[in-house]
Amino acid sequence: MLSFASPWLLAAALALPALWLLLRITPPPPRRIDFPAIRLLFGLATQNRTSRSAPLWLIILRITLVSLLILGAAGPAWRRGGEQVNGPWLIVIDNGWAAGKHWTQRRGALLEMIRQADHDSQPVTILTTALPADGGALALIGPSSAADARGVAERLAPQPWPGDRAQAAKLLDTLAHGKTMRVVWLSDGLADDGVAALAGKLETYGRLEVMLPSPGDLPQLLMAPTSTPTGTRVRLRRFGGGEGHSTVRALDEQGRGLALLDVAWEAGALNAQAETDWPSELKNRIARLVVEGEEHAGATELLDGSWSRHPVGLVDDGAADRIQLLDDLFYGERAVMGFAEARHGSVDELLQRPLSLMILPDHGALPDKEREKLRKWVEEGGTLVRFAGPELAGNPDDLLPVRLRSNERLLGSALSWAQPMSVAPMPEDSPFAGLAIPPDLTVSAQILAEPDLTLANKTWAKLADGTPLVTGAPLGHGWLVLIHTTAWPGWSNLAVSGLFPEMLHRLLDRSVGVAVTQNAEKPLPLAAQLDGFARLVPPSAVAQALPAGNGAIVPGPHHPPGYYGDSTARRAVNLAPLLNLPPPMGVPDGALRLDPAQAQADLDIGSWLIGLALLLLLADLAIAGGLRRAAIAAALLLLCTGQARAADDIAAALDARLAYIITGDSAVDETSRAGLAALSRQLARRTTASLAEPAGVDPERDALAVYPLIYWPLTSRQSGLSDRAQGRINDFLRHGGMLLVDSRDGGTTSPERLRQITRGIDIPPLALVGEGHVLAKSFYLLHDFPGRLAGGGLYAEEQGDAAHDFVTSVLIGGNDWAAAWADDRQGNPMFPVVPGGEAQREIAFRFGINLVIYALTGSYKADQVHVPAILERMHH
C-alpha cells in the first residue's frame, strides 16, 4: 500500500497542464555558437523550416521528470502487508512474563508501527495487558501523538507476572468509537480467559491484526527441580515446537556459571526432563537455574536451599543430667551449627521429619525396632555417623561399616607400652582427602576393626600405625560411617580439634539433601525481585510481604517472584509453579495474522523517484545542451556522492573524533551521532581532550584506522557483517582500535544473537569489568557503567593483548549509552534514563569520559598508581 509523508505536495501536480502548455509554445532555445566567418553567411538564403514548438517526446520527457519530482518530494512509502486502513492506531501489547522472550523484537515492531503512525500523522493508543509495577491499575495510554507514544514505548518493559486481558478488555469501553482504527495486537502467544473478550472488543474498532510468535518461539517454563537419591531432576515445560534441546544453566549467588545441563525435546512433546548427578557439594552452591535464551521470569528458578537442606539429627538418649563439656552430643552439635540445622531427639522422633545425616553417639545397644527403622532410613539415602565408646565395644551391632573387635585398644595408658597415636595423612580417595591434620591431635583409645580384605577400601582415615580411625561403607543409597573413637574428648582430642567440624562438613556435603517444604512462620518481606527479564532487582515499593503459612499467592505487583525474607529465613517464590499452564493462543476468529516480517519498515520510494528524475534530467541535458554539459552535470552528481567519501576520510584524519557504525536505522544513527557529539562537548568542557564532530562510518567502505573509538549500536534488524566489513573491523582491532558494542537493551540480548551479529569478528575471551579496571578510574572513579539503562554488565577483554599494552580492544555492553548522552542542540536530553534519572545520566557521561580517556591514553592511567613508588625510589 502506498502512503505519502506530505500528501499536500501532490497538489503541485495541478500545475502540470500549465507546464504542458508552456512547453508546447516555447521552442527550445537554439545553440549559440561564435562564428567569425558569419559575414560569408549573410548573403545566403536560408530555407527556414522553423520548429515553433518543442517536439512531443521532449515535452513528455519533461512532464515525466516534473511528475517524478513532485511524487518523490511527497515522500511516498510502500507499506508491506497489503491493504490497510489508514486511521488512528490502537496497539495492544502483551507485557506479561511470557513477553520477556523476544521482547526486543516485539518492541521493535511496536516502534515501527509508531513510526508508521508518525508518517501518516495518526494518533496512537497503546494498551498493555500486565499490571504496571508501581501498583497502579491498567490504563489506556493515549490517544496521543506518535512522538508521545514513542516515549511510552521506549520505557515499556515486560513484567514478571501474567497479564490480565479480561481487565484490559474492560478498559476498552472507555475508548470512544470514532473512525475505523488500525488495530494490532502484539500477543505473547499464550491464551488465557480474556482472549475472546479482548479480541471481541478489539474487533469493534476495526480489522484486528494479531502478531503471534511461532510455536517454537513461545517461552519455556522451568519447573522446580527435585532431588533424587542419585541426583537432581530438572523439568521443563513448553507450549509447542519440534525436536530440539534446551540448555539449563546453574548459577551461583554471584551469577557465575557452575554447570550446564542439556534437556532434549522430543518432537511435539510439551514436557521434558533431565537428570544430573551433580555432586552434593556443587549442588549446595547453586543459587538459581535458568534456561539459556529464555530471558523471562518463567524460565528462572530461584533456589533458597530448601530443595537441598541438610538437617542433622543428634540422637539423644533422653538423660536429664547432662554436664556440658562431658556430653557426647555437645561437640557434634557445635561442629554442625554453622552450616546445618541440628535437631535433638530419639531415633523415632528424629525420623518423623526428613534428615540428611544422623549422629549416633555411643549409647549402647539400640532396640531392634529402632535399628530396623534406622536401617531403612539409611537404605533410602541417609547418612548415619556413629561414634565408638565403651558401650559399642561391648555390643557391636550390624549397623556398622566394618566388623569390630570386642575390646577397645588403649594407647598410652598405664598398662600399655604404646604412646598416644597421631593421625596419618588422609588417604587420597577418602572423603577427607586434603584436610590438614593438626599436629597435636592424638588418639589414646580406639576400637579396632577385624582385619578384612575390604577394610582398606572402607578406611577413610587412619592412625599413624595404619589402624582405622574412620571407616565408611554404603548401605542401600545411604552410608554408614563409624568414627572409631568417642564423640567427646574421652578417648581422643579429635572432638575438640579443628579437624572435627571439617570432617563433619565433608560428610554433610556427601549426604543427600532433602526437600523441605517449609512453612513460613512469620510474614517474610520481599528482599529482591525478578524483573521481566529475570534479573534480580531491588524490591519495588508496592510489594507486600509473603504471608505466614502456606497460602497460595497470586503473582502480581504485590507479590512479584523473587526472594522473600532475610538471611535467617529466605524463601524463593518462583513464577513457574504459580502459573496454571495456559495453552498457546490461536488467531482469534475474524482476525488477521500479522507476520512479524510484515511489520518491517516501509519501503521508501521517494529517493528512488528523485534519483530517476535526476537521470531523466541528465538525459534532457544531454539532448538539449550537448553531451559535455550532461557529462559535467553527471560528474557533479558523482562528486556529490562518491568523491565526498574520500574527502570524508581525509577530513576525518585531520582531527581526532569519535565514530559510530551506521546501522541503517535512521533513528538509531541519529541517536548515536547526537550522543557522541554531546559526549565530545562534555569532553571538551571537562578534559583537555578536544574532539571534532563524530563521524558515522560504514565499515565496508570507510577508513576506520583514523578513529580511536568506534561505537556500534546493535538493532533488531541487523544481521551479520559482510566478509569485507569483518576483515576491516578485525584489522582495526588488531591495530589498536577500540570497539564499543552496545546491544541497547540493558544486556538482555541472548549470547546467540550477539554471536550472530558479531560473527567473524575476533573477539577474545571477555570478562566483566569491575571496579579494579582502568576504565573505572581513567578519569572519574566509577563503580558501575550505566547508560540510558542500568544494570547490564560491561565486558572487556579478560586479558589484554601485550602488543596493545593490555588495553582492551572490544567492549560489549547493553546500557544504551548513546541514548543517555544524546541531546538536542539546545542541550535538552533526548531520552529519559531509567531508573536513575539525571544522576544516572551524569554517571553515564562520566563513563563516556572515562571510556574516551581510556581509548586515548591506554594503560597510562593504570601505570599512574606506580608513580609514588617510582618517585620514592628516585628520591633514594
Binding site: P30, R31, R32, I33, D34, F35, P36, A37, I38, R39, L40, L41, F42, G43, L44, T46, Q47, N48, R49, T50, S51
Partner: protein, 285 residues
C-alpha cells in the same frame, strides 16, 4: 602563451627547415635575401670601382695608391648595400582570437607563431624585421626574434588594418583571416602598394570556418559586431557556404595579383611548418 614560449616554439619550427636548402636559396636569391649589393656605388664595405676624382670629392676619398700609378686622381668607390626590412603583421582582431575546438590553436596564436618563426629565419639571413603596426626602427641581430615575440604578445585587439605604413620598398607579410569584405581589403592593399610596399597575404582560417560543421538549429554570433544569425538547419547551408568561401578567396587572390603581391591560405588544422616553408620560399625568390 608567453613571449619566451612563443619564441622557443618558433625557433624549433625554424630549426626544422633544412639549413642547406636555406643557404642555397639565399645564394640563389641574393637580390632579395641577405645584404643586397645594389650594383652601384654607395656606402658599403665591398670595393665597387675606381673613378676619376671630380670637383667636390673630399680629399679623404682619394685613393692615393691608385692615383700614384697615373696622372689622374682616383677615388675608390664601394658598392652601396642595404639590409632590407621585412614588416610582419599578425592580425589581432577579435575574430582571430577564436578557435572552434579546444584541440586547436586560435588563429592569432598560429599567426604569431608563423611571424616569429619567419623572424628567426630572416634574422639568420641578416634581414631586419619589424612589425607593421608598431612604429619605430626595425629589429636586427640575435635578439630580434625575441623582441618580435614580445611585441606580438603585448598586442591589443584591434579591428582595423594598421594605418602606420612601412618604409618604402619594405617587404610586408600580412597574417590574417581576411574575413573583412574584399572591398575594404582592396582599398588598403592599394594604399600600401602605392606606398611602394611589396608583400604577401596569408589567410589563416580555422577548420570550422572552412567546413561549417554545425548541425540543426543554431544561432551564429559574429565576433566583430556583425550581429547574430539564426539558422534552422545548419547542415543545409554547408555547400553554399563552401562556395561563398571559395568566392571570397578568389577575390582576395585577385586583389593580391592586382598589386603584385602573393596570396596563400593556411588552416590551423595543418602543421605550422607547411605554411612557414611556403611563406619562406615565396619570400626568398
Amino acid at each position: 602563451m608567453t613571449a619566451a614560449d612563443l619564441q622557443s616554439r618558433a625557433e624549433s619550427l625554424a630549426a626544422g627547415l633544412p639549413n642547406l636548402l636555406l643557404r642555397a636559396k639565399r645564394v640563389a636569391a641574393t637580390v632579395s635575401g641577405g645584404l643586397h649589393g645594389r650594383r652601384r656605388p654607395g656606402s658599403g664595405e665591398d670595393f665597387w670601382q675606381y673613378r676619376q676624382s671630380q670637383p667636390g670629392d673630399p680629399l679623404t676619398a682619394i685613393d692615393w695608391r691608385q692615383s700614384a700609378r697615373s696622372d689622374h686622381l682616383y677615388v675608390r668607390e664601394t658598392e652601396w648595400t642595404i639590409a632590407r626590412t621585412t614588416r610582419l603583421w599578425a592580425d589581432p582582431s577579435p575574430s582571430m582570437l577564436w578557435r572552434s575546438s579546444r584541440d586547436l590553436e586560435t588563429k592569432y596564436e598560429r599567426a604569431c607563431l608563423l611571424a616569429v618563426a619567419l623572424g628567426v629565419l630572416l634574422e639568420q639571413a641578416g634581414e631586419r624585421i619589424g612589425l607593421l603596426d608598431r612604429p619605430g626602427p626595425a629589429f636586427s641581430g640575435r635578439t630580434a626574434p625575441a623582441r618580435l615575440a614580445h611585441a606580438l604578445i603585448q598586442a591589443q585587439p584591434v579591428e582595423t588594418f594598421p594605418e602606420q605604413g612601412a618604409a618604402p620598398r619594405s617587404l610586408v607579410v600580412l597574417l590574417s583571416d581576411f574575413l573583412t569584405p574584399p572591398e575594404e581589403i582592396a582599398r588598403q592593399a592599394e594604399r600600401w602598394a602605392a606606398a611602394g610596399l611589396t608583400g604577401h597575404m596569408l589567410q589563416i582560417l580555422d577548420p570550422a570556418e572552412e567546413a561549417l560543421p554545425y548541425q540543426g538549429r543554431v544561432r551564429l554570433h559574429g565576433l566583430e559586431r556583425e550581429g547574430d544569425m539564426l539558422i534552422q538547419h545548419a547542415e543545409s547551408l554547408r555547400d553554399d557556404y563552401g562556395l561563398a568561401l571559395e568566392a571570397h578567396r578568389r577575390a582576395l587572390a585577385a586583389i593580391a595579383r592586382q598589386v603584385g603581391w602573393r596570396f596563400s591560405t593556411h588552416s590551423t588544422a595543418q602543421p605550422a611548418r607547411v605554411a612557414l616553408t611556403h611563406l619562406y620560399s615565396a619570400l626568398a625568390c
